[in-house]
Assembly symmetry: C2
Homo-oligomer: 361 residues x 2
């Protein structure tokens, strides 16, 4: 089917750009010898996860048990839940999942580690557990150093848990605009991770894995000598917010993800309205960009409409014309769709189901 | 099942509050003799639409053809697409739908009216068509007065269209904070609608319906003497942004919609992290509110996390504790979920499928 015949709004994946992104990341990490474990929260699509593994990834990260279930159902064999899992219902499902795939999970609380051990014992499995350390994002995670060591000791005492290392992801650093800011933030994070790892290993515990990093910073974690595993996610797609970062010295990832939208009204001079609003893309990191039409700005989103402001002297897109938008933020945008419409040279080549769409549990 | 056992994140509907909201709106409109046609874009749930009809609504509004299909599939017999429908694929489906239900639709362009007539003729149906007039929102819609009259004449000439009236919704007025601002905005909108209606009727065309209004303004459209039909949507749920409006003289609608979330990390003094982030609620109109815990603020959302800031001296919610959040904006939040978990007095009474979730086409 020609792309022109695809109805809107739709979520498009440009396969050429996507495949280049896969190869670029695989190449950048391969030279370092570090493990690549891309984050599947960005795409929620087993078809993409399997291609990441085929390109050299050891497995993927997920944020939720239900997301991990969708990945295992889709054929992914090795998953790190790069997050805490709290509550009996989720822990039971997590432990059951460990019968079907290699599962590791993060903790930042001793009582949660106990609950995890209970669930693992009930299911008859042993779970790999990483201590989440707050290396600068001030979200989840214990403090580096002694608090992390104490929790590692606790985990190590439980019969159905195996202490596997440290989770040291600095999410807040990814969208710092300048390279220097990101380098400085990751230098601090890596120092906290190093200190924590050394303290734990001084106790005789094997800190096998130090995992973290995102698309905006992974070269710095890679060069740190501390991290053993990298978990970037957005590089497969990119978005308008990442586009506002500077990237000197980084491999360049192409924008492969777009919203396909139709001009549904062109009622007045300098204004056109497209059929993709708040339910077709997430504006948490700003408005989407209009591809290939300089002077045309996506100015305002309402539930089902996007208002385009057209600069003086610039052609107003015509009623019925279809446009590509670059979403402001890829992760929550992908979560709005059931399918990726995979396009190569203006023709649809495949439909990939986003099977973990809405996987909140 | 007790609510306490419902896993998180989940979308809760408090049935007592919801039923009061239904009755309050039905009562407020009944006295006026106007038709109530609530907007289903807010709930996307036929179970709710049917209860609105049972409480006196003539039918519902939808924004998208696929949303309307979900409503007709769910048993709703009379739908206004309060929006333009552009492109052959959608128009064909719209015309087919008119064989199964009473369908009306808006236009703001003569060529689109022609396409609509073609689709209706091909399907062997006649469609009711309203002229969308820009009464102040500056989104879709032709200018009031002459431009609207010209388009009404065009519609009236087509054999498979029936000119049915004017769509005069002022979306931008709904969230103006003060009653006086909203009153003034609707006074202007109603004046534009009146002038347009009079001009059209002076031509001998019957302007049967003048439709518009939202939860924030419906009393003003009702009192205007111009509008014949009201299309509020959010009143069934309410949200944090509507909570920032003032409501003097308006019936009070209760907050019936909540996000049910678990504290998944409480790693540091003054901070707790819940498991509901950008994929569990929409932040386009601001952060959600935490119910019943003064001094606890939902400060920051990332993809799967919400960071709660806890004021000095206030108890930090405990790990595993479940909380209710009031979403910032109900419509795009509901669109993230497949089910409404309907609760009465802390017990689950029903699960209602949100069958138009993701209905973007």
């Amino acid at each position: 089917m020609p792309l022109a015949d695809v109805d809107t709004p739709a979520l498009l994946l440009d396969l050429d750009a996507f495949e280049r992104n896969l190869a670029t990341m695989a190449g950048a990490v391969r030279e370092s010898g570090l493990r690549l474990r891309p984050h599947a929260k960005a795409h929620k699509c087993p078809e993409i996860a399997k291609r990441q593994v085929a390109a050299g990834a050891v497995g993927v990260c997920c944020q939720k048990v239900s997301e991990a279930e969708a990945m295992v159902d889709g054929g992914v064999a090795d998953i790190l839940i790069a997050n805490e899992v709290v509550g009996r219902a989720k822990l039971t499902r997590l432990a059951q999942l460990a019968k079907r795939a290699r599962i590791s999970v993060c903790v930042d609380d001793a009582s949660n580690a106990g609950d995890l051990d209970d669930a693992a014992r009930a299911a008859g499995v042993r779970l790999d557990v990483l201590i989440e350390v707050d290396v600068g994002a001030h979200r989840c995670g214990v403090e580096p150093g002694e608090p992390a060591l104490r929790l590692a000791r606790v985990v190590n005492e439980f019969g159905n848990l195996r202490f596997a290392g440290v989770h040291a992801y600095h999410g807040a650093a990814q969208h710092l605009r300048s390279i220097d800011e990101r380098r400085a933030a990751i230098a601090q994070a890596a120092e906290k991770a190093r200190r924590t790892r050394d303290l734990i290993e001084d106790e005789g515990l094997d800190c096998e894995t130090v995992t973290g990093a995102g698309t905006g910073s992974f070269l710095f974690e890679q060069a740190s000598g501390v991290y053993t595993e990298l978990q970037p996610g957005s590089y497969v797609f990119m978005d308008a917010d990442y586009g506002r970062n500077s990237w000197d010295g980084f491999p360049r990832f192409a924008q492969s993800l777009h919203i396909w939208t139709t001009v549904m009204s062109a009622p007045a001079a300098g204004r056109a309205v497209v059929d993709a609003g708040l339910k077709a893309h997430s504006v948490d990191s700003g408005m989407p960009l209009v591809v290939g039409l300089p002077g045309v700005e996506y100015a305002k989103a309402s539930d089902e409409h996007g208002v385009l402001k057209v600069a003086a002297g610039v052609r107003v897109p015509a009623l019925g014309e279809k446009l590509r938008l670059v979403p402001g933020h890829c992760d929550p945008t992908v979560n709005l769709y059931d399918w990726l419409v995979c396009v190569r040279v203006e023709r649809v080549e495949a439909l990939w189901p986003i099977t973990a769409r809405g996987a909140l549990y």
